[in-house]
């Protein structure tokens, strides 16, 4: 199947700084694809080039095999849901939604039928004659989506569409967006800096940094098998361990000596040799914590650590532990938590253990990336 949208080695520079640096991408019809990255990573610039607001310095953009690189935005069968909604304040909800159809010079009765159907789908029929300033944030959001979808675009671009909403509304809109996508089946290109939005909505995610794709893949691939420390740290919290391969006990595992932690067993998902430097990423929820050493430590790595901080979050507890030179973040869920059970608390010496398959080898590591995590080491205690 030919790709719906093809981006071929697109580059865009501002004052010699590459906002988008030789990026290529293919979108399949009907998928939800997310561009995920910190602010300033170039994701919005890439989106604006696809919408037609910016022209790439080099490279081509193809829609259904047709070159649209030089086409102005009003000639593209692509519509955008803008970050601040960009609803026309002097028009009613109906007029806002009808705007695109009026620009296409469609007949009035036809416009009326299509707009009414779209308002119905988005549950906005009661608000048709209201002005945008009379709507709530979630309603504005739905008008913005309706206004784009009514034109039946081949591709819907969503530029941080939920950024202006509060958390509860954001979670509800995510579910609604998913339902809308199931309903209309249009390809979504979703730009966000929020990894949980990208994870819950997307078929595929591209993690962007400094104008380049760091990694592209399904949410599971990106989370479970991050290619480098940037991806690992940007998508959720993780623990980085740095060591050297010392032995190969069998085909599947190798022994890695991590200074100040000792020898750890690591699953060999990459080809490594003895003596090679290695960087591992272990997700906090993969680590287990207990007062007693686990009974069958065959394929487990067990180390001792001191509890520095305990943050009870209801569904889980975050622990910050100190072991050797490392500060480890552990997230533990409470399977059957009893109130009279004595919880693990500050200053306690505990065992931390994890399955040796859960330490994932990174291709590259940069210490700066650790600051991307919400619970990084230098975060002040409050």
């Amino acid at each position: 199947m030919a790709a719906l949208l093809e981006i071929q080695s697109v580059t865009k520079r501002y004052d010699n700084l590459a906002a988008v640096d030789n990026v290529s991408l293919e979108l399949e019809a009907g998928e939800v694809f997310s561009l995920l990255g910190p602010s300033g990573c170039g994701k919005t610039t890439l989106l604006r080039m696809i919408a037609g607001f910016e022209t790439p310095d080099s490279g081509r953009i193809l829609l259904n095999g047709k070159d649209i690189t030089a086409l102005p935005p009003n000639k593209r069968t692509i519509n955008t849901v803008f970050q601040n909604y960009a609803l026309f304040p002097h028009m009613t909800v109906f007029e806002n939604v009808a705007f695109g159809l009026r620009m296409q010079k469609k007949a009035k009765p036809e416009i009326s039928i299509e707009v009414d159907a779209m308002l119905d789908l988005m549950e906005l029929s009661d608000h048709a004659s209201k002005k945008p300033n009379q709507l709530s944030g979630g309603q504005k959001q739905r008008v913005a989506i309706a206004r784009a979808l009514v034109n039946k675009p081949k591709l819907l671009l969503l530029d941080e569409p939920l950024a202006a909403l509060d958390l509860k509304l954001r979670q509800r809109m995510l579910i609604e967006l998913d339902a809308i996508h199931d309903e209309v089946g249009i390809t979504f290109l979703y730009v966000t800096h929020d990894q949980s939005e990208a994870m819950s909505l997307s078929d595929r995610i591209a993690v962007m940094n400094h104008g380049k794709f760091e990694q592209m893949g399904s949410p599971v691939e990106i989370y479970e098998a991050p290619i480098n420390s940037f991806v690992a740290a940007f998508i959720g919290d993780t623990n980085f361990l740095n060591g050297k391969v010392t032995a190969m006990p069998n085909d599947e595992f190798c022994t890695v000596r991590v200074p100040s932690l000792g020898d750890l067993l690591v699953w060999k998902d990459k080809d490594v040799r003895v003596g090679e430097e290695l960087n591992l990423s272990i997700r906090p929820e993969k680590l287990r914590i207990a007062r007693k050493k686990p009974e069958k430590p065959d394929l487990l790595n067990c180390i001792q650590a001191v509890v520095e901080d305990v943050v009870y979050l209801g569904s889980l507890t975050k622990y910050r532990l100190k072991s050797g030179e490392y500060t480890l973040i552990v997230e533990q869920q409470h399977g059957h938590y009893l109130l009279d059970e004595k919880p693990i608390t500050w200053e306690e010496i505990v065992w931390v253990y994890w399955h040796s398959e859960d330490g994932y080898m990174l291709q590259s590591y940069q210490q700066d990336d650790e600051s991307l995590m919400a619970l990084s080491e230098d975060m002040p205690d409050e």
Partner: protein, 279 residues
Amino acid sequence: MNKPNRYVEWLLSVPTYVWLIVFFVFPTFIILWIGFKPATLNGGIDEGWTLQNYREIFSSNYTPILLRTLSISIWTTVICILIAIPVGYWLARLPARIRYWMLLLVILPFWTNMLIRIFAWKTILHPEGFIKNSLVFLGIVEPNATLLYNEGSILIVLVYTYLPFAILPIYAAAEKFDFGLLDAAADLGARSWEAFLRVFIPGIKLGLITAVLIVFIPALGSYAIPDIMGGSTSEMLGNKIAQRTFTDRNLPQASALASLFAVVVMTPVLVYQIRRSLQ
């Protein structure tokens, strides 16, 4: 807000109201009142009441002046607005640093007295002046045509004088305009002029209304510009009022003209205000 504050607020605004009543409302009513008085031959105001002053205005010999005043003022307003819209748009889109220098250029003419600027236009449009000679050279005007002392020269100087008053409110509205809306319009298939007309112009509506009022009203009442730039065939209402006051010494007639002018000016403002308060 608590009561003592309201009291202080009221007290503080008393001087303003006193000033407005003594120096604005009161004189306005004096003029309205004199307009209904008969004139004496030696320039005074007679006893009794009369509608003669108004009858005189609506008799034929004022009609050309009233129509000319209206038409010059409307043209001034239209031309000022048509120039000010693109200028305001352009100013609002400039980077802040350059924008303030450009705004300074817009208000720069105010640093020179208006009379001097009007006289400067006399030099510019002079029969032996640069512009006249250039236009003759290019074959656009006849060598014996005059650029001065006609409705055209009044219009040019009125537009020149009131243009900043049109640019500033339109710029102020354009600066608050969310230019992302033009992107949204383009995204929805609007060509740039469609986006401009359907999204930008409604978006700066309040600025446009302010600009229209702020240009149209002083243009209607202009006196110095038609006096200096105009000729005997291009008199405006302001000149007529001055003539009746100083030359003819017929204050009631001048007052009737001024009252009529006030009604013409206030009607659109009142209509606009009432419509706004009804919304």
